[in-house]
Symmetry: C2
Subunit: 443 residues, 2 copies
């Protein structure tokens, strides 16, 4: 393909030389060089096509022509900071607001999920005048210092992990493997009471809660779907302590869950977070993101007297792209597609579960689906090596899937939203073959 400048070996050599070694690559023993992509397909330097089941950033499909066009047109016209008035900024804010409960009406535009979550923490701390943050087990919220502190997924990797004194970790509301499982009478209340217990302990030590932060559905944490009612109860406890509820929708927002535009809405209409952070899919790959909050929180933040200035945030190009993404989601009914194809995929996987003892659990909403592999369905022993094997074997067959969760045994589906039933058939068929072969070698 024309887009190749170096031989693959040279690319690898230059990467080793000039790119930070902490920046990991997929399939590091035999990495993939991708030169082109379209919809849910990616192409390597030899023109080989890969089915992409993992890129939730390329939300409306890789290189969607409407998005590319909107970007190019605005780039030709103007790209500058938000200290000048511009219609794209306010129109986009208005359009985003229309997807949310009314009280979430004030936007801050930034460039990444990390910038969004860091700002969310600043907003909560300024509003409450408090410092302590409650986060979930296995959570990942971003790469800047303040977020490593609230990301057990990250800080547990550190040999000399030293937990920030203002950060408190609540159990992941995982009804499959967690502390309270599906057979427990009321896991939502039980998990929410754990948060309450943390608040009480913090209070006893003289601390004060600024915020509880959680992904609406845990992604890196293992595709965890919190039981309905959990967020409402947590919000009640956190509000009573003077803190705010931050819903991180960086991975799961923008219609992916199918039934709703935002994943927090799965908890019911009676739940509204105080702050919502967005990222990844928002610009179909363009570096942009957003924090939305209430008027009260925004005004408390302003009352500190400190300006918030973000050089690139909310520029006319990013907003044009954001608008185009919203338009495509509607025009192509991608939320509906996520619901239908997600349901279809889940059904196919459920059938595989009947067939393969290695599959312990299937869970998901729309095109956000997890398949947890276990060696023993009673003990739930994580089938980590097997999950890796599935991923590697799928790659050989040109299907991109990944495994995550604390035991890296959860296969994660979060494909571009144009994923089809045929794509679902294909990947499940391959998984069936791989699991069958695996099961045979295990016997």
């Amino acid at each position: 393909m024309s887009a190749e400048k170096f031989e693959k070996s040279k690319t690898i050599e230059l990467r080793k030389k000039h790119v930070g070694p902490s920046c990991k690559i997929f399939f590091s023993h035999d990495p993939i060089k991708i030169v082109q992509a379209k919809g849910q397909y990616m192409y390597d330097e030899k023109g080989q096509c890969y089915l992409d089941c993992i890129n939730n950033v390329a939300h409306v499909g890789h290189c969607h022509p409407d998005v590319v066009k909107a970007a190019a047109q605005q780039m030709e016209l103007l790209n500058t900071n938000s200290r000048f008035l511009h219609d794209n900024l306010v129109f986009y804010a208005q359009r985003l607001q229309a997807t949310l409960p009314e009280k979430l009406s004030v936007c801050y535009f930034v460039n990444s999920g990390s910038e969004a979550n860091d700002l969310a923490l600043r907003l909560a701390r300024q509003y409450s005048g408090h410092k302590d943050i409650i986060t979930l087990e296995n959570a990942y919220h971003g790469h800047v210092s303040s977020l490593i502190d609230i990301s057990p997924y990250k800080f547990h990797q550190l040999s000399d992990a030293e937990q920030n004194q203002f950060v408190h970790v609540a159990p992941s509301p995982d009804v499959y493997r967690g502390k309270y499982r599906a057979d427990y009478s009321d896991p939502a209340t039980a998990y929410a009471n754990e948060v309450k217990a943390i608040i009480d302990t913090v209070h006893k030590k003289g601390g004060k809660i600024a915020a509880f932060i959680a992904e609406s559905l845990q992604s890196c944490g293992g595709q965890v779907i919190p039981p309905v009612g959990y967020f409402q109860q947590v919000a009640k406890h956190v509000h009573k302590a003077g803190g705010l509820f931050i819903a991180d929708e960086v991975q799961v927002g923008f219609g992916r869950v199918g039934t709703n535009f935002w994943a927090f809405q799965l908890q019911g209409e009676d739940f509204v977070p105080d702050i919502v952070t967005m990222g990844k899919p928002i610009g179909n790959g363009h570096p942009m993101s957003c924090v939305v909050t209430t008027r009260e929180v925004a005004e408390a933040f302003m009352s500190s007297g400190m300006e918030y200035f973000n050089t690139f945030g909310g520029n006319p190009v990013s907003c044009a792209i954001g608008l185009a993404v919203l338009d495509v989601i509607v025009k192509e009914d991608l939320q509906g597609n996520a619901l239908r194809v997600g349901q279809y995929l889940t059904n196919l996987l459920e059938k595989q579960k009947e067939k393969h003892p290695l599959i312990g659990d299937i869970r998901g909403c729309g095109l956000f689906v997890g398949v947890e592999l276990v060696k023993d369905r009673l003990k739930l022993t994580p089938a980590t090596a097997e999950a890796q094997e599935v991923i590697y074997k799928l790659k050989e067959q040109h299907i991109l899937l990944s495994a995550d969760g604390p035991h890296r045994n959860v296969l994660k589906f979060k494909p571009p939203m144009c994923f089809t039933m045929e794509d679902a058939d294909l990947v499940v068929e391959k998984i069936d073959l791989i699991l069958t072969a695996l099961q045979n070698t295990l016997i």
Copy 2:
């Protein structure tokens, strides 16, 4: 102009409703709506042209066709994360490296100046195993939590400012208004000794220095040019304490200073920072930035075992844009232009200084120039209101300039690098008239 969607009053109304009130706007009493821009010119909704003397982000000129083309072409082809191999990433890293001293060979690609500086702090803390940071008076390094902490420009705005215990503020090496002035025998050594004294105090209290961070030339801090030799001596003291030297080139890099590609190089060839952070001009407005460091620092960071993953950082589109910007700088000799036009502008301003007692100091390198207004050349009383008046009057005449520094009395020139001698003539002529009128009302 076609690009207007709302009446200006509606834009203002929507902005008030949906955009965080901490996000300030230029000329808030009568803000400007910009709908188009080209080169060093911006156009409002009525087609009125403004000469842009402040947008250092639109480095190679607003909406440069080569940059737009590179972006659009790559957007059509592929935009994905850096976990796949891609030639743009490694080629761009190689090209950036070629502009730097050899030991600065490892890049991390991120999305904003803030992400870059936060990562720089993480690198320094991990490498040194230390925590304390020395920053300069009036410094601004970004908007995320960890950087507000090291930005006196910001945290001094807080009513309840509570300085982070690991952050120490050294005097700004300002030889015009600072502690040691041009008439002092050796201001470089005197200012560096202040840093040494801080290190000694930190050590006495049991702390350990992770890094000294400074802009190579202070921008928000008031266009301060540190005396030659200052960085070398600071680096010596900091290295002796086991810490690193971080040069923030977010505002001043990429040829702006004219004589060199990087502003830290103004200190001489014997000075090489351990970490350089880049931003603003790097993508001509596209959200991207970079941290470059040494192999040793990069390996120490990796040895923590923690992956560094940045969703958008180093994507093929950002790298294509970065490459195009480097190409345009060379092709159009913009560094040379900065040197020539900057010199010409400085000469014109020097003549104004002879004429107007309000002008206390002219300082700068290339197209990074500051004009400090004072009411009294001996007492250096800041002429803050007068600086605001100049800015507002220039705006009426469709010239965009800003005032900054701790007293907001320093007129800042940092225009797109295609700024011409005619542009310089125009703005200086207008300033002359405004200062003449001002002086008359003062008498």
